[in-house]
Structure formats: structure tokens, C-alpha cells
Subunit: 325 residues, 2 copies
């Protein structure tokens, strides 16, 4: 399959790397809204201006859109679905139904196929929630995130006056995770599930106490959590906090039997050195699936919940039955 | 969906219980090769003779076949696929391709749909292996089973002269599991992955030392493992070893990035109080999926690798996108 990347940030670079690991994938080019001559790629793949994208329509089987969920993807994915098969990682959970409807309309009209909200949450975590809840209807599901960097929370801290740089780690409360694993079906408030750790580089003349208060009391982002703030130097930030690790756990406990005698626990866990590189690796699999579905004549929008696992694999159904089943 | 159960052992009883938890499922009857008047069900559902099964053809959307993989299912599933949509839990991994071909031929010919090898291994573990290996092509996968009762190994011990009853637990070696979780990519021999614990009730005049030797040196079953043998009374067996717990872990570590800088670990774990009740709960989901596919006009054989997660859920695609994605 011939792939294009639309948008070249952390996620776009991740897709560029992941293509190297997938022998059935070839990267045709990267499309950017910046001046292409200013974009230096990791592998030397050509960079084109986003405004020239239609000239490459026939060279690309699937376009992987690597934009942000807040403002980019709601516009980009439906617009590109008018001309390409597209994959995105739209992750604003509450707006998925509207985004799905917009992309579906565009793809149905143009006769293309799209898959939205690919990655790990939404994505692999969603898939696992659906499997778990289908198998154990009488139970409770829990999702924990971290330990990992939340870009949104890091950005929120950076916007505080006097903050030069910041990194926020979301950390699951191990005591809560253990209660869930032990089938105690705990009722967990927001505060009981996660803590937040902030590493902050402050300007020389900044009021550190004021910054710490501004973080800890910030509505929606921090006020419902136990938050720790640690001031560090710019050198420490670069040396110790330049990676983007993440991960988490989806856990469900449920009962079976005529009198609910038996308890079962299903857990899916991720420990990721690089959130964007793992997400990119999922995007490649999603591209493979919709490329296959398009070649079978399917159109419209999908999510990973609509994709049979076998379609994500480079192996044939026969190989999978013989070796992976 | 209207379900039938063919075969009424531990698995059949599990399906009977699981139907109670799934509001879209109704159990029409149980079909047995025994004299129906001798079979007492848990819920009072009717019991019919297997020889009368064709009289109930039009009342049943999906027949769940609860037979053994060694001799029952290779015959039963293709035979029943001539008249019904069928689900089975065929678990002899090496023979899956042949079983698939036989069932596919029967189902294609009769215009029905079948799904084989449903449960957790094969089943949920297979699904997870395929997801993991598709997302992280450059990595290693490991499967650990237990702590849980292996019926096959328990039966093997029971066949030794002087043994009145036996229960065998397969136990993963925690040190090996931790090495895998720590991304050490260990090379693990059979002995390094699992130990085997046998609880044995011996006849009064039996030679216990001879029994222990017979177990520990039994080819294929025990000779490649570190095995412990504990002699207990029949009362202890009934009090402490009458349940059928099981579980395990599928773990994959893999690398991404242009120079493989980043490592990721994906783990799927099950802790099951009752192996047959959990397997039964998966069978109901598989029945729901093939009932939906049949009503869309699909025929032939499938495995769980061919089934989109959404089809296993009682919720609609819209509900899943809004709440589970």
C-alpha cells in the first residue's frame, strides 16, 4: 500500500518511522502546510506543499492525517476524505459521533473509505473495553492512564505567566489499581484514580509560589487531583523530560454462573516509551485494513471497532489460522 | 437470538448460565446424546434427544456445540453446519486449518455460517496475539498459562494405575514473566516457562513412589517440566480442588523508531474463577456475531480473527461510538 502523511509533527515522524517496519507499506510523501523547503525529514522522503496534494491523488492508497484533534482534524479529515482514503487519530471522545458523521458523509459522497480515532485511547483501549464488556456483561470496567506525559496538561501549565517550559505526568494510584485487580469493585472518585506530577522551568524573576498555586487550582485540569509541582532547570528538563512515554490499563471484573459464584478479571496494559510512535504503529495497521476494504468496494467511515483483527495484520487469513490462532 | 446447546457438560452448563446474562439471547433447548429424561438442567430449559435435532431446525438461530476437541467436534461441527449456524470451541491448535476447511465446506454448501475455536486460547489470546504482532512487527510475543487446571493433564494422571482422582495445575514461572515484562526478550525453554503441580488421591494399597515417578517421567505431558506431586485424601480433593480456575498472559515487547530507540510492552491478562464459564461467555458473543452476519447474507466458516469487535456487543454501533470508543 502506498501511504501519504498529512502533517509532520511528532505523530507524522512516528508514521515515517513505522513505515520502515512494515514491508507492505511504502511512503510516497509528506504533505505540509509549512514551506516544504523548511521541513527536514528523518528518511529523506519527499515533502510537498499541502496545497499541491490533489496532484498526488492517484499515487496514494491511504492518507494518514497527523493533525491535532482540537482544530485540525475536524476540518482536515472530512475535507481530505473527499479525495483520499484517510486515517486519523481524533481523540476528543465526546465529539467522536459528530466527527464520524461528518467524515462518513464526505467519504460516502466521494466513494472513499475512512477510519477515525485510531491509536490506543481511543483505539486499542476502546477495542478492549468492547471485548470485555461483551464477554462479562455483569461487571465493572476501569481505565487508568499513565505513568505518562499529558500534552494537554503540559500545555496548560506552559500558559501560566512566568513558566518557560513544563511537563505534566499523569500517574495512576497503585492502591486503586490493586483494588480493581482484586475484584473489590471500588467506587473511585477522580482524585482516587490518578495523581498529577508537574515539572516546571520558571523564569528567573517568577513567583514560584504563585505558579504552584495557579497550577494546583486550575479548573478542569488540576483542581480535582492531588498535584505535585517540582521546579527544575531548563537543562534538567531537556535531559530528563524530553521523551513522551505513556501507557495505562483497562481492567474489567465480572461475574458468571447461575448465582454469580465465579469472578473473572480481564486486563489490558500498555507501557509505552513513546506515545506518538506507538500511536503511529496503530495508524499503519488501520491504513492496511481500510486499503483492503476499499479494494473490496467498501466506502464510508469506520472506527477500529468495525475492523476484524485479521485485517490489521500483514499475514493472510490462512497464515493467521495456522500460526496465531 | 434463539440459541440451542448441543452437549451438556461443564461447557454446556456454562452457556446455559451465560444466556441469563445476555438479554438478547434465548435458550430454546439442550440437545444430548444421552437419554434426555436423565439430564437435569440448571434452569429447567427443555432437553431433547440429539437424534430429534432436525425437528427444531426452524426454532434455532445459532447452535452452540459444547463437545470435546479430541473426537467430538471434528465430527459434530461439520455435521451440524449442514443444518444450523454453529459455534464451537475447537482448541487443538495444530488441527485448526483442517477443521476450518471441513466446517467451511459444510457451511458453504448448506448456506449457513459457522465460527470455530472460540474461547480464550484459541480465542481472546489469539485476537490479542494478532493485534500485538500487527502493531509491533519488530518484537517478541510470549504466552503464559495459569495458574489453572489443565483437564488434559489431570486426565493423564488419572489413567495411571492406583490413581483414584487427580487434579493438575499449570503454573507460570513468575521470574520468566517478569523478564518478559522488563523487555529482556528472554529465550525460554519449556521448563523455564511453567511448572506443573499435581494433587493425587491414591488407592489405599497403591505404591505412591511409583505413581510419582510415573507422573514425573510421562512423555509430552510432564517430562519437560518441573513437576510436584502431592498426595491428598478424596475429601481434600472435593473440598479444595473442585473448581476449574484458569487464566494467563499474552505479552509482547517490541521496538519502534528509526533506530529502534523506543520499547513498548503490551500485555493481556486473564484471571478466571471458572474456565468453562468464561469460555461459555465468549461463545455467546460469537453466536451474536454470526447471527448478525447470517442475517446480512454471509455464509461459510469464520474464526474470531474475522469478527469486528462491535459485532460481539449487544450495543449498536452508535452506542459504542458514543460510550465505549
Amino acid at each position: 500500500m502506498k501511504l501519504g502523511i498529512y502533517g509532520y509533527g511528532n505523530l507524522g515522524r512516528g508514521v515515517e518511522c513505522a513505515v520502515q517496519q512494515n514491508k507492505d507499506a511504502e511512503l510516497v510523501g509528506i504533505f505540509t502546510r509549512r514551506d516544504p523547503s523548511t521541513v527536514k525529514t528523518l528518511t529523506g522522503v519527499p515533502v510537498y506543499s499541502a496545497s499541491d496534494i490533489l496532484a498526488h491523488k492517484d499515487e496514494i492508497d491511504v492518507m494518514i492525517i497527523c493533525g491535532g484533534s482540537a482544530t485540525d482534524l475536524p476540518e482536515m479529515t472530512p475535507a481530505l476524505a473527499e479525495h483520499f482514503n484517510v486515517v486519523d487519530s481524533f481523540d476528543t471522545h465526546a465529539n467522536i459521533p459528530q466527527h464520524f458523521a461528518n467524515v462518513d458523509a464526505a467519504a460516502q459522497k466521494s466513494g472513499h473509505i475512512a477510519i477515525i480515532s485510531c491509536g490506543w485511547d481511543p483505539g486499542m483501549f476502546s477495542i478492549n473495553r468492547v471485548y470485555m464488556e461483551s464477554i462479562l456483561p455483569d461487571g465493572e470496567s476501569y481505565t487508568f492512564w499513565g505513568r505518562g506525559v499529558s500534552q494537554g496538561h503540559s500545555d496548560a501549565v506552559r500558559r501560566i505567566p512566568g513558566v518557560l517550559d513544563a511537563r505534566q505526568y499523569t500517574v495512576p494510584v497503585q492502591e486503586a489499581v490493586e483494588k480493581v485487580r482484586n475484584c473489590e469493585y471500588p467506587e473511585l472518585t477522580t482524585r482516587m484514580k490518578h495523581t498529577r506530577e508537574c515539572y516546571v522551568v520558571a523564569a528567573e524573576d517568577a513567583d514560584k509560589a504563585a505558579i504552584e498555586t495557579a497550577i494546583k487550582t486550575m479548573p478542569n485540569y488540576f483542581d480535582e487531583y492531588d498535584t505535585t509541582v517540582t521546579f527544575i532547570t531548563m537543562e534538567e528538563m531537556k535531559a530528563e523530560h524530553s521523551a513522551l512515554p505513556h501507557g495505562g490499563n483497562v481492567i474489567r471484573s465480572g461475574k458468571t454462573g447461575l448465582h454469580s459464584e465465579c469472578t473473572h478479571t480481564i486486563e489490558y496494559s500498555l507501557k509505552l516509551d513513546s506515545n506518538p510512535e506507538f500511536t503511529s504503529s496503530v495508524l499503519i495497521c488501520a491504513a492496511r485494513a481500510i486499503d483492503r476494504l476499499y479494494k473490496k468496494g467498501e466506502t464510508g467511515c469506520r472506527t477500529m471497532l468495525d475492523i476484524p483483527p485479521a485485517l490489521l495484520s500483514p499475514l493472510s487469513p490462512e497464515e493467521l489460522r495456522a500460526h496465531s490462532l
